[in-house]
């Protein structure tokens, strides 16, 4: 398996653990509170992605095959 990828619910995804790091060069100018907010938003977004898209596979329409 590619480094940094895990299998969850039978599907591959980027290991959330590696997204915990925050590179200082990017957060220059952002307050600690803003950084924390971004991290919360990231988790909320990932939750939303799983809720909406992770439990089904959308197949292409037949006329495209």
């Amino acid at each position: 398996m590619v480094e940094g990828v895990i299998k969850r619910n039978g599907r591959y995804e980027v290991n959330p653990a590696i997204m915990k790091k925050v590179e200082k060069s990017i957060i220059k100018g952002m307050s600690e509170e803003d950084v924390k907010t971004v991290i919360v938003l990231r988790n909320e977004y990932l939750r939303w992605m799983h809720d909406n898209f992770a439990k089904k596979i959308i197949k292409p329409p037949k006329n495209n095959q």
């Binding site: 990017i26 220059k28 971004v38 938003l41 977004y45």
Partner: protein, 405 residues
């Protein structure tokens, strides 16, 4: 950190006519230009209407980069840069922001970039479509805040402590005080009913984000400083904010521009929910309505407050709450925008508002619950013009009805 108008140093140097934007700014622009994700595109409520890629952060940064490359002129940026609500959706949907360090080593800061370019256009005497209307709004604000009687009329017969020392202060700025006073009254009655001892200010000066879009940064700072000094003098420890735009300014802008604030700031629905949880407020009266909730951008996208209004609606007996996920609502806006959008692009603002109301009606909602006086104002106008039938009511007022105050 404090004393910074913009988070990124690359935004510091003002853009000028016949002058190439700095290399630092060009690099920042390039990082978005080079990014081909374009998630900022579909989430943008303006792009959903205009379908014009120029009206997205990708377009904004590309336009600025083209000025640096000598392909276009600074004077031509006005049309592009007025197509932004400053709602912050693109910032939080952008993988460069959400997954720091994984992609292009930068975060999207569209709200600040749009403020900067609009202000620089005004500073250079070029302006942008509708900038006169923005100036008029600021002038009206400055006249109204001087009229203490008008600013305090909402408090009327409530018998509130005005000025003096108080550890809790209810902060009601000009727009709510003069345009949507029922929300302020409901908030005050609920705090009293919940046993909270509080005061209101004998005059609030700030609450005009438009100043940051027309090169009046000093005015924005002065008004904010005046309120913070007054609150400090009142010995405030907790400031309860009714207008989410003010909450956004306190949480993000005032801190960055003026430094740490010597008191805690809380949005009104957060403290009201806390009072319900502690049993101090009891919503007991049945409100039999099918209700959807519209997340204000300044709460949901810009300060990440979305739980307490939903908790309150769920606590009101009789309410059939038709919740739309707050992340789904990153795609929504009422159309008003955080500061100048409605004044510069009224037709698009109206279309965005109509689209949002129709979404709530499609759910079967009879009432669209709100948490922002600006959303209420804009939706009311849209409702009148389109004759769409839906009740618009602030969550705070709904709670007041159920508590019986």
């Amino acid at each position: 950190m404090a004393g910074r108008l913009y988070s990124k140093e690359a935004y510091d140097a003002p853009l000028k006519k016949d002058e190439k934007p700095s290399a630092d700014l060009a690099m920042d622009n390039y990082l978005t230009f080079a990014c081909r994700h374009k998630f900022c595109r579909e989430i943008c409520p303006v792009h959903q209407i205009t379908r014009n890629e120029s009206h997205t952060p990708y377009g904004f940064n590309t336009a600025l980069l083209s000025v640096n490359q000598g392909i276009s002129k600074f004077e031509e940026l006005g049309d592009t840069f007025t197509h932004c609500l400053q709602c912050g959706a693109c910032e939080i949907r952008c993988p460069n922001t959400l997954f720091m360090a994984d992609f292009y080593k930068t975060a999207l800061t569209t709200v600040e970039l749009v403020r900067k370019v609009r202000s620089d256009l005004v500073r250079e005497g070029i302006g942008y479509p509708g900038s006169d209307n923005v100036q008029k709004e600021i002038d009206a604000h400055l006249v109204t805040i001087e009229k203490q009687k008008d600013m305090l009329a909402w408090a009327g017969d409530l018998g509130l402590q005005i000025g003096g020392e108080s550890s809790v202060v209810l902060y009601v700025s000009r727009f709510t005080a003069t345009q949507v006073s029922e929300t302020a009254r409901a908030a005050a009655k609920l705090l009293m009913s919940g046993g909270v001892k509080f005061a209101i200010m004998d005059g609030v000066s700030a609450g005009i984000g438009e100043a940051l879009d027309v090169a009046k940064e000093d005015l924005f700072k002065d008004l904010a400083r005046k309120d913070i000094e007054k609150l400090t003098k009142m010995k405030a420890e907790l400031v309860v904010v009714v207008d989410p735009h003010d909450y956004f300014f306190f949480k993000r802008d005032y801190k960055r521009i003026l430094g740490e604030i010597p008191f805690k700031v809380v949005f009104v629905t957060d403290i009201l929910w806390e009072l319900i949880e502690r049993g101090k407020l009891k919503p007991t009266k049945m409100i039999q309505k099918k209700i959807a909730f519209h997340d204000p951008c300044t709460l949901n996208k810009l300060t990440n407050v979305w739980q307490s209004p939903r908790n309150i609606l769920r606590a009101i007996p009789g309410v059939e709450f038709m919740d739309e996920d707050h992340v789904d609502q990153w795609y929504y806006c009422c159309g008003n925008g955080v500061s100048t959008f409605k004044k510069v692009r009224p037709e698009i603002a109206a279309t965005i508002g109509e689209r949002r109301i129709r979404k709530a009606k499609d759910l079967g909602a009879e009432t669209l619950a709100l948490a922002c006086p600006h959303c209420w104002d804009h939706f009311t106008e849209v409702k009148t013009n389109t004759r769409l039938e839906i009740e618009l009511l602030n969550v705070v007022e709904l709670l007041a009805q159920s508590v019986g105050v």
